[in-house]
């Protein structure tokens, strides 16, 4: 992998990395034919973010290793390369990212003014492909607004607020702070902001709905959107289905997929590591590790694709809809006959929520190894058989 980012795009790349750092601790880097993808996921797997930079974003984009190269690294190390954004803008002329296969390092070289070269050699780990399955185009509700509108909205809430509830009707949107039912309901201050549809560039509400998701992750995307001036689109359906926030332009595509609180009684699927008892978290991490290891080692064999939606529809218990939508596993009760379930038996229900996004490891030759900016299609099971 060998690519060069010049001029103002260096700052855009830096901002993207900073906003990814608000979600997760590890950056998954994958250069493909259609561009460079940077992805991350949070520890409870309830928030996923991905930026795809098309080859045109770069002044040079060469990928000699083909599909083979995928890595992950600590996001803090990459942030350190792009540390001071103000000086980046003023002094960095270009940034060269190159894979040094011999020494297993990814080299970031910043070419600055006056001939100064700053070279960072970052070590990385090989990783499986991190990919979430989601389909924006089939969302019931779509809102699109200038980043300033959303930033101003978010300002009304305290920085410490965890979750925000967004409710839409035909003409209006309400943003409310979500108060955890377990906490003392009478002591919390409630804040609500009402925006009318004409503040949005695009306002399409096909069904009234109310979704609750983590505000911190939205703020992460807003940081990026505000600095690039790109409008933010929000795609969502019903509680429990993830909300997708995205920014797009001709050379880049950013998507933040956030889990939402399901309002089914008993299924507390908030991203605050849902289970009440700390030991369950450790348990969850252990399971996750073994899941990832299983994925890694089975790369060559190509595991059966998790979440083929169609076969699940009839068998699901408690799901409000029978339509084959990709994130319906969240509604399933344990013991459902899901492919994922087979790989990880005995997982308690709340964990299913976090694994909702996780697509399979696509072996290198798979045509579905990447995703294009134009569409994020749900993968139907049949096409995966060769995987």
């Amino acid at each position: 992998m060998d690519c060069v980012v010049t001029g103002g795009n260096v700052k855009v790349l830096a901002k993207a990395i900073h906003s990814l750092s608000r979600i997760g601790d590890e950056l998954y880097l994958e250069p493909q034919e259609d561009g460079l993808t940077l992805r991350t996921v949070n520890s409870s797997r309830s928030a996923y973010a991905c930026f795809l930079f098309a080859p045109l974003f770069f002044s040079r984009y060469v990928n000699p290793e083909g599909h083979g190269f995928r890595c992950k690294m600590a996001i803090k190390s990459v942030q350190a390369v792009f540390r001071s954004l103000a000086t980046l803008e003023k002094t960095v002329e270009k940034c060269h990212i190159e894979l040094d296969a011999d020494r297993n390092r990814l080299t970031f070289t910043l070419h600055c003014k006056h001939g100064l070269l700053k070279t960072h050699n970052l070590s990385f780990q090989d990783s499986e492909s991190l990919q979430a399955l989601f389909d924006k185009d089939s969302s019931t509700n779509v809102l699109k607004a200038q980043p300033r509108v959303l930033a101003d909205t978010v300002l009304n809430f305290p920085p410490s607020l965890d979750e925000v509830t967004v409710t839409v009707s035909d003409e209006r949107v309400w943003f409310r702070n979500h108060v955890d039912q377990e906490a003392e309901p009478s002591k919390a201050m409630l804040t609500e902001l009402c925006l009318s549809s004409d503040e949005f560039d695009h306002f399409e509400v096909r069904a009234r709905s109310s979704v609750t998701f983590c505000l911190k992750e939205l703020r992460g995307l807003l940081v990026f959107a505000e600095s690039t001036g790109l409008p933010v689109s929000m795609y969502f359906d019903k509680p429990g289905s993830p909300v997708v926030l995205s920014v797009t332009d001709s050379v880049l595509d950013g998507n933040f997929v956030l889990a939402t609180l399901s309002d089914e009684s008993g299924v507390q699927t908030s991203d605050r590591a849902g289970t009440p008892a700390p030991p369950a978290d450790d348990f969850m991490n252990d399971e996750l590790e073994s899941y990832l290891i299983a994925m890694d080692t089975s790369m060559a064999a190509g595991p059966s694709v998790p979440a083929p939606p169609a076969p699940l529809a009839p068998g699901r218990v408690g799901s409000p809809t029978a339509t084959p939508d990709p994130w319906s596993p969240a509604h399933s009760e344990p013991g459902e006959d899901l492919t994922e379930e087979e790989e990880e038996p005995g997982r308690p229900p709340n964990k299913k929520f976090r694994s909702l996004f996780f697509g399979s490891v696509y072996p290198p030759g798979s045509p579905l190894g990447g995703h294009t900016p134009s569409s994020q299609k749900v993968l139907a099971s049949d096409s995966e058989e060769d995987g």
Partner: protein, 285 residues
């Protein structure tokens, strides 16, 4: 019980926000007394607060364009609420550029003080942000705890040095000791002293001036004039309480005075244009 009010002027709104922010830095909860003419933020000097007392008085007409109050009863035409001033401060801050701000008493899941602000937007319709701050209504039988504190029979009254300078001095002293002695005399001199086993530090302020409490309590004036103006009167207080008071100040008062009752209490009085703030710090042995 009914309360509705509206602020339209941005200057008044910002001024009110600053007062509330100052209060929020002084205490976590306090009582808001609403009467037809005034608003009071009160902290009664009970042992639970460490004996610190606060009384802040605002004239409603200087801030609100509309102010309608129907108190508990005709004879007791006021409302007493316990709330967290920090919530109120945060809510007001989000409305800092609002076209109008309405504050009213409502009943949602519990009694609330609702702040509704209409924010300007680029489009034709405005944005409305609503904050519901939960409050506790204080029953009439407890109102006695929250009446205006009487001015203590002070031994010395002196104007304070610039609060910023005082704050800097007290901040440094806090690192050395938990207790600080404030002493002053009727000759415009004030000292802040700390004393530990290893070190003692004194900061001297001179030419501060003494407020003329003439025409007030005759006996007080008499007692003061008999006392030698050079005599220092002192009180030893918890330095953190003094620091908290100084840290909270958001803007400069037109007058700042300190009354000391020997070894009993410190009474700090800050006067702003439309607001007066009194703060009582008990002395420790």
């Amino acid at each position: 019980m009914k309360f509705r009010s509206k602020i339209i002027d941005i200057g008044c709104l910002n001024h009110f926000t600053r007062v509330v922010t100052t209060i929020s830095k002084l205490t976590k909860t306090c009582v808001l007394r609403l009467t037809p003419d005034n608003l009071y933020f009160v902290l009664s000097g009970k042992v639970a607060n460490g004996g610190v007392g606060m009384w802040c008085e605002l004239s409603q007409a200087k801030f609100f364009d509309e102010f309608q109050l129907e108190g508990v009863s005709a004879e007791a035409n006021e409302i007493c609420l316990e709330l967290a001033p920090d919530n109120l401060s945060r809510a007001l801050k989000t409305a800092h550029n609002a076209k109008t701000v309405k504050i009213k008493l409502t009943k949602k899941h519990c009694p609330c003080l609702t702040i509704a602000a209409e924010l300007p937007t680029m489009s034709s319709t405005s944005r409305v942000v609503t904050h519901d701050i939960p409050v506790d209504v204080i029953p009439k039988r407890l109102w006695n705890d929250f009446k205006e504190p009487s001015m203590p029979d002070f031994d010395v009254s002196i104007y304070m040095p610039p609060l910023k300078i005082m704050k800097n001095v007290v901040d440094r002293m806090k690192n050395l000791s938990n207790f600080l002695v404030i002493e002053a005399n009727m000759n415009g001199e004030m000292n802040l002293k700390i004393e530990t086993d290893l070190v003692s530090v004194t900061t001297h302020f001179r030419d501060l001036g003494n407020p003329p409490w003439a025409g007030g309590d005759g006996s007080q004036a008499g007692a003061n004039s008999q006392r030698d103006p050079e005599t220092m009167v002192q009180a030893r207080v918890d330095v953190r309480k003094l620091q908290q008071f100084l840290m909270g100040q958001q803007f400069n008062p037109s007058k700042a005075m300190c009354n000391i009752v020997q070894n009993t209490i410190i009474h700090l009085i800050l006067l702003y244009e439309d607001v007066s703030l009194q703060y009582f710090i008990p002395a420790v042995a």
